[in-house]
Symmetry: C2
Subunit: 204 residues, 2 copies
DNA sequence: GATCACATACCGACCGTTCGGTATGTTGAT
DNA sequence: ATCAACATACCGAACGGTCGGTATGTGATC
């Protein structure tokens, strides 16, 4: 008889928990998300979860730091860094990710970061702080890219990079929020085209 | 002898419950909102609540229909109907209500309609339908006002009223969402000035 | 054999909901 | 005008279920 050794891989276990938690919180929200469903989705037990995390809050922080933060970085910031045409890059990003999320159906669940931001900011200062840092980095990335564009002559010099960045991020929140509540991809694309029009008005 | 104060006033009781529910759901969300806190806030008991409403869901629907709907109407639609300058009216509305909500502190709790939309749309089709109707009326009101503005020569004729309306409503969601997660009134005002700039680009 | 990495069993709290009961109107026959 | 018969309005204790969290057991690893 084969002696089946149970393979123990703490890092992989932790990772499975974080991924399952991301999926659960994305669909059900943080408060509505159930630890029982998370451990079920991860194929582990509560013992494993509480071995790796001190509680539900710590798990939520890990989701923000280890999943949502990197996702934001690669989706919205990577293509902006050092781009000669930040306006075109943002238009491309909006069109691309609206299309991507509609095709995958994820648009009906909204933006993971925005979901947590709206739910948890008034309730938990630690959540709010982490979320604030992520949105701040997002705005700063856009503002920096716009300022660079001004220096390179691709962006009008009479716009405020900070104000425009605040608005662009707010618009992203609103567009993904529109897709979520309406579950109407065409409506989301309409709003997406309108922000591309707005971005066009920022060109030099 | 003085007539004894009316002990039983079903309409007033129902009203107190709906108002308390609005406040509770606004602060805690629908799922996070507690019926115990609602009856406490209304100064009644659970018996009264379940006499007037079949359950938590029905109470949520009443809040949408009887509080949030009228609020939307008076805040955003009333000033648009038949306005000769819809763009100016919307700019005024954004500046006025951003100021109002910052002064009252309500901005930190976001937009009541958007809060419910983001939380409940993926979970409850009945909620989603009601919310969808409200946002649809909002978009249609804006689109109609823009079309009127085109006929009167105050709005550029090469913009799509539907697309612009979808974007303006999305921007409202994003701006109030920004105020909520950041709890930073100045940031919210920055975004508000940027949408006023965008609205300006729609002028004929 | 000590420690790590889990699994299992279970706890108390809180939730929305139910329900038996009571107090207050309302109606209509006498 | 009175009073039984009924409906409405409201109370508050209790229920079943789910929740996050914990205490303890067990096998793998070093």
């Amino acid at each position: 008889m084969a002696t089946q050794t149970v393979i123990r891989d703490p890092e992989a276990t932790r990772n499975k928990i974080v991924c399952a938690a991301f999926a659960e919180f994305y669909r059900q929200g943080f408060q509505g998300g159930s630890l029982a469903r998370i451990v079920e989705g991860a194929g582990v037990t509560k013992g494993a979860l509480f071995h790796h995390f001190s509680g539900k809050e710590a798990l939520g922080y890990a989701v923000l730091d280890e999943v949502i933060g990197p996702l934001l970085q690669q989706r919205w910031l990577a293509s902006l860094i050092g781009s000669p045409d930040p306006i075109g890059a943002m238009q491309q990003a909006f069109r691309k990710f609206i299309r991507t999320d509609i095709d995958s159906g994820h648009f009906a669940l909204g933006c993971p970061l925005n979901n947590l931001a709206q739910e948890m900011s008034p309730l938990d200062p630690s959540f709010r702080g982490r979320i604030d840092s992520l949105y701040l980095a997002w705005r700063e990335g856009i503002a920096l890219a716009l300022a660079d564009g001004m220096a390179q002559g691709t962006v009008r010099v009479d716009v405020s990079p900070q104000s425009a960045a605040a608005f662009i991020v707010a618009a992203q929140m609103g567009i993904w929020g529109t897709g979520k509540f309406s579950q109407d991809g065409a409506l989301m694309m309409q709003a997406g085209e309108a922000i591309c029009d707005y971005l066009e008005t920022l060109r030099a």
